[in-house]
């Protein structure tokens, strides 16, 4: 067991677990989505739109996107931790990654429920 914690107060277990949980959620969605595409075969713009109008499907898609963004953010933090020394540069990049992820989450919500281009 290491003596020095990189983040005070945490051994990184929750990040480790969350990375895997989000991965499994995404895997399940991809399988379900694939099945839905094969069974429903939405055709044309109308069919595509109708598919995303079904509430459970929209919610599942949003859950997928949130899992994706969380998974990506955790992954990015790992990459940054390996290649960028702790300091101002890392803080800035960390924050930029968080901002990008939050912005894309908001954008996804707009796409799924906004109704406008």
């Amino acid at each position: 067991m290491v003596k020095r914690l990189l983040q005070p107060g945490s051994h990184g277990m929750s990040e480790w677990l969350l990375q895997r949980v989000t991965a499994v959620v995404m895997l399940l969605y991809v399988l379900v989505f694939g099945l839905v595409l094969l069974l429903v075969r939405p055709d044309g713009h109308e069919g595509w739109r109708e598919l995303f109008a079904v509430q459970p499907f929209t919610i599942a898609t949003f859950a997928f996107i949130l899992s994706l963004l969380l998974h990506a953010w955790l992954g990015l933090r790992g990459v940054l931790a390996d290649y960028v020394r702790p300091g101002r540069a890392r803080q800035v990049l960390d924050f930029a990654a968080a901002l990008a992820v939050v912005a894309m989450g908001a954008w996804a919500a707009c796409i799924l429920w906004g109704g406008t281009a």
Partner: protein, 142 residues
């Protein structure tokens, strides 16, 4: 007396015995051969970053396809163009490799396939399956 910075703990110098002084401390990375599992691992990271960078584009395509009939058609037209198709093929590989290497990671977490022979086998499997499925996807969609 200044305390050494915590990140220098690996570089902390220590007097070496005479017969150890010739040993290189920092090996030039280009001279080392990458084992197969290591290749799978670094590609797992690279594919992850590529997928992240593609996210805005994918979200934009989704938005466009849902916006209007013209938008939907525009997306279909884009998907016919060669540069977009090649990009999509690369991203398909990135997704497949990341997914397969991720599954291998989960198996390793469960202590499955830790032995050297098995680890090499699963790495080969991930690499080959990733390439095969990418080719299959390319053929199926084109």
């Amino acid at each position: 007396m200044l305390k050494q910075k915590s990140q220098d703990y690996r570089m902390r110098s220590r007097p070496l015995a005479p017969h150890h002084r010739e040993r290189p401390r920092n090996l030039p990375l280009a001279t080392l051969r990458l084992p197969l599992p290591a290749l799978v691992s670094i590609l797992h990271r690279v594919s992850g970053v590529l997928l992240f960078l593609s996210l805005p584009g994918v979200l934009w395509l989704l938005q466009l396809s849902l916006s209007s009939a013209e938008g939907y058609q525009h997306v279909l037209d884009l998907l016919q163009s060669l540069p977009v198709r090649l990009l999509l093929l690369a991203l398909t590989w990135a997704l497949l490799h990341h997914l397969l290497a991720g599954l291998r990671h989960l198996a390793l977490d469960l202590h499955l396939g830790l032995e050297l022979a098995k680890a090499r086998f699963t790495s080969k499997l991930v690499l080959l399956l990733g390439l095969l499925l990418t080719v299959a996807a390319g053929v199926a969609l084109w």
